[in-house]
């Protein structure tokens, strides 16, 4: 079962599932395969994918971050208010978003490293903290009045084509970070650390530095993702963002990143998020109720974890005669 063909199938499982699900939904709804619907799906989910790119690095190292959505809420409200009160402009908003993303993730990482507890526990606490801060400074009110150039990021198309700018940004980062992860030393160190932290440290990999690197990368993409989200919405309130963490988490798992870390690829993650998106979109077009959609998504997530564990337990040990 180790032939080239079965290996290609296995490595691209998320894309195969994506195609199968798309075909199924095209029977339910004739509108599904229309170009405009597909562009809409991509456009609406570009920010989720960009966010997932960053969070994939965290999951790859064997950790789970639950605070992403609340980070986005806090970042979005902050840059919205800074723009409204101090007129920091598009560039200022982007820079501060990225900077805040990095700071919040470094804070999560530092707490996790210094207290020697999992990121899951840390971010359970900090998500509450970030949410509270976000509501406090926004006063639960929406903030708008973004500059036009800022709104274009999430609303305009790329130079007279029908492709939204957000989709271009998403593709650009997906490709760059896939290359970073698979081709560079730092990317491989992240895989190694996720697979076995002790072995990595003893092999001379700077585990702590690598963790902070992961924090920085995750932060950058959370910041960019926030910008993409609120520029598409045209305004921001403290409820913009929360919820994203679970979509991202499920998408990454569906994309083949192992819950134990050390395994998976970004191309799979893109497919994983799109699977979730198409499920929502397809089920809506097919007239499924919202509650039923939750049931379906829950079952799919269980299946994704189950397959991951099953594959691990059923790997054949290679022990052919040596010598």
């Amino acid at each position: 079962m180790d032939s080239k063909f079965s290996k290609i199938i296995k490595n691209n499982m998320p894309w195969i599932i994506l195609i199968v699900i798309s075909i199924i939904f095209s029977f339910f709804s004739p509108n599904f395969f229309k170009i405009q619907n597909i562009i809409n799906i991509l456009n609406q989910n570009a920010f989720v994918i960009v966010c997932a790119i960053g969070i994939t690095f965290i999951m790859m190292s064997g950790q789970i971050d639950l605070s992403v959505g609340y980070q986005m809420s806090l970042i979005g409200v902050t840059i919205g208010l800074l723009n409204k009160n101090y007129n920091i402009g598009t560039i200022g908003m982007i820079l501060i978003a990225v900077l805040m993303g990095v700071l919040l993730n470094i804070l999560n990482m530092t707490l996790s490293i210094k207290l020697n507890i999992g990121l899951l526990m840390v971010t359970t606490a900090t998500s509450m903290l970030y949410q509270g801060l976000s509501f406090t400074i926004s006063g639960s009110k929406a903030v708008g009045g973004f500059p036009d150039s800022f709104k274009k990021i999430g609303q305009a198309n790329f130079f007279g084509t029908r492709i939204p700018i957000a989709v271009i940004i998403m593709l650009f980062f997906a490709v760059i970070m896939e290359l970073f992860l698979t081709k560079t030393y730092w990317g491989r160190h992240i895989y190694a650390m996720g697979g076995n932290e002790d072995a990595s440290r003893l092999a001379g990999i700077e585990v702590i530095k690598t963790k902070y690197l992961i924090g920085v990368i995750a932060g950058v993409f959370v910041g960019i993702s926030t910008v993409m989200l609120i520029s598409r919405l045209g305004s921001v309130n403290s409820s913009s963002g929360p919820g994203t963490e679970f979509t991202v988490l499920i998408g990454i798992l569906l994309g083949g990143v192992s819950v134990r870390g050390g395994e998976g690829r970004l191309s799979g993650v893109v497919a994983g998020i799109l699977i979730m998106a198409i499920l929502s979109n397809g089920m809506q077009l097919a007239g499924f109720g919202v509650y039923l959609q939750y049931v379906v998504k829950g079952i799919i997530m269980l299946a994704a974890i189950g397959i991951d564990v099953y594959q691990l337990n059923h790997q054949k040990i290679i022990d052919e005669k040596l010598n």
Binding site: Y191, G204, Q315
Partner: protein
């Protein structure tokens, strides 16, 4: 410093709060020698190698490598100086490919991106040199323990290693694999690499070492050439006293069959038939992967039996859980003591009584008095060395942990014990005590199935040995016919020609 000395340990001490782990230890390691480092658990071997590898810093003294004195080292510096370490617990990243593990943490290729082709080529060269054939691109978790260890040796060789430290390299290998590993170690020595070889297994050390250093209680006892050293002498140096009759004899008569297996298959074993007699120690021999532990788990109800019959005291039984087997009087003591044998973070009495809670309770409420009595009885019966019943098992020595695992099983009225690697990682002195305990159990009417990878122990303790190979029974050897060669032959899957 002589020019054939490559590494000098000079007055090294290491203080921990309340403990002096190493006390003024000095000795030289010569170029191109296999230097055995022996001592009981707690003698300071691991602390010493951690100092040489830079994982911890000494409180005093220095390490001299190639005429340069180092008051302390870091992992990176130590590795630069040509010191490689293969730790006891395998240190591979299971999710990465073999080739990535060989070059873990190293930069082969350009400034930013590794060169996959070059890595493959270099890894293949190393494996060729070692004379082994391991596929380069598969995930390392799919390799057997023996192969994973070779990957680690390859990692050490991928940098220019001058001193290779091996901490209990044979602990998780079966007999034939140990032989191959020893061959590799010898060929490395012949190429001029110095090897510091830490092992509990005296036979291995007698076989390969050129020089012997013994540590006891953090102190350096002796460093001497292996010539003229025998097993007794090594034990005397390690323990500090004479130990006689390593394998104590038994006088208990062997009775009729208590457990009979007929064509048992499942959990990776096929068509196994044998019987265990009352008052007998039945040895289960075989290489790693032969299915010994797997068979033990089938008998114990931990794994599913697909076909065949198990008769216990004459009646067919079919246990679906460990709990059922335990309450019927069959106990299993795992080879993974720390994971499956004891609860490290719980106290002694808690550990001993955990299986016997139901027996000592009424209407679901446990009888504390009974449990206290039981725990006290067990601690004195097994001579567990612990300051109190409330001591966490984590803080006991390996031998005493093993006694606790045994006591836990015997807190129920147990008739059969499946004992998986009873003395793995246990000191010579305490080993004997375990053997005495096993004999005591036999005298009290218990029968034992002993799974072991140590040939000496199998031959010394068993009344009969059943040999498995790749999940099948290869043969059965009676005590009068015990012979190491015979068992090794069967274990490697070759049937004996002259079957009496």
């Amino acid at each position: 410093m002589n020019n054939d000395t490559i590494l000098r340990i000079s007055h090294i001490s290491k203080k921990y709060p309340g403990v002096l782990a190493l006390n003024d230890v000095s000795f030289d390691v010569k170029k191109g020698q296999i230097h055995a480092l022996m001592g009981e658990n707690g003698a300071g071997k691991s602390t010493l190698i951690k100092i040489i590898s830079g994982a911890i810093q000494p409180s005093g003294g220095s390490v001299i490598i190639n005429d340069t004195e180092y008051k302390s080292l870091t992992p990176a510096l130590s590795s630069q100086l040509g010191i490689g370490v293969i730790y006891q617990e395998f240190n591979n990243v299971p999710s990465l490919s073999v080739v990535e593990n060989v070059f873990l943490g190293k930069k082969i290729g350009g400034r930013f991106c590794p060169d996959q082709k070059l890595m493959n080529q270099k890894a293949q060269e190393i494996f060729d040199k070692l004379g082994v054939n391991i596929p380069l691109d598969i995930q390392t978790r799919r390799l057997s323990p023996a192969q994973q260890q070779i990957v680690e040796i390859a990692r050490a060789l991928s940098s220019d290693v001058k001193v290779l430290i091996m901490d209990e390299p044979s602990a998780s290998l079966a007999m034939a694999e140990v032989e191959r590993m020893l061959r590799i170690v010898k060929s490395l020595r012949d190429e001029g690499v110095s090897i510091i070889y830490i092992s509990h297994r005296i036979d291995e050390v007698l076989d390969i070492a050129d020089t012997l250093t013994i540590l006891r209680d953090g102190k350096h006892i002796e460093t001497r050439p292996m010539k003229g050293v025998d097993r007794k002498e090594i034990i005397r140096l390690m323990v500090g006293r004479e130990l006689n009759e390593t394998y104590p004899a038994r006088t208990t008569p062997i009775g009729g069959p208590i457990l009979e297996l007929e064509g048992v298959s499942g959990n990776g074993v096929h068509d196994i038939s044998f019987e265990l007699k009352k008052g007998e120690i039945l040895g289960l021999a075989g290489l790693i992967g032969a299915g010994r532990t797997e068979l033990g788990k089938v008998i114990f109800g931990e794994a599913k039996k697909d076909s065949g019959t198990i008769r216990y005291k004459g009646k067919p039984v079919d246990f679906h859980s460990a709990g059922q087997a335990l309450s019927s009087g069959i106990g299993y003591i795992s080879e993974n003591r720390k994971e499956e044998g004891v609860f490290l973070n719980f106290p002694v009495d808690w550990n001993i009584t955990i299986s016997a809670l139901k027996k000592n309770s009424r209407y679901g409420f446990v009888n504390r008095k009974n449990l206290e009595v039981l725990a006290d009885k067990m601690v004195s019966r097994f001579r567990v060395k612990t300051p109190s019943q409330l001591q966490l098992v984590r803080n006991l020595s390996g031998g005493n942990q093993q006694k606790i695992a045994l006591a836990k099983v015997l807190a129920l009225d147990t008739d059969i014990i499946i004992f998986d690697e009873p003395t793995r990682g246990i000191d010579v002195g305490v080993k004997q005590e375990i053997y005495h305990l096993m004999n005591e159990l036999i005298e009290n009417g218990v029968s034992i199935i002993m799974i072991s990878s140590e040939m000496e122990e199998l031959l010394g303790m068993s009344d009969r040995i059943v040999v498995l190979h790749e999940g099948r029974k290869m043969g059965e050897v009676m005590k009068k016919d015990f012979d190491q060669q015979k068992i090794l032959t069967l274990a490697s899957g070759i049937a004996l020609e002259d079957k009496e």
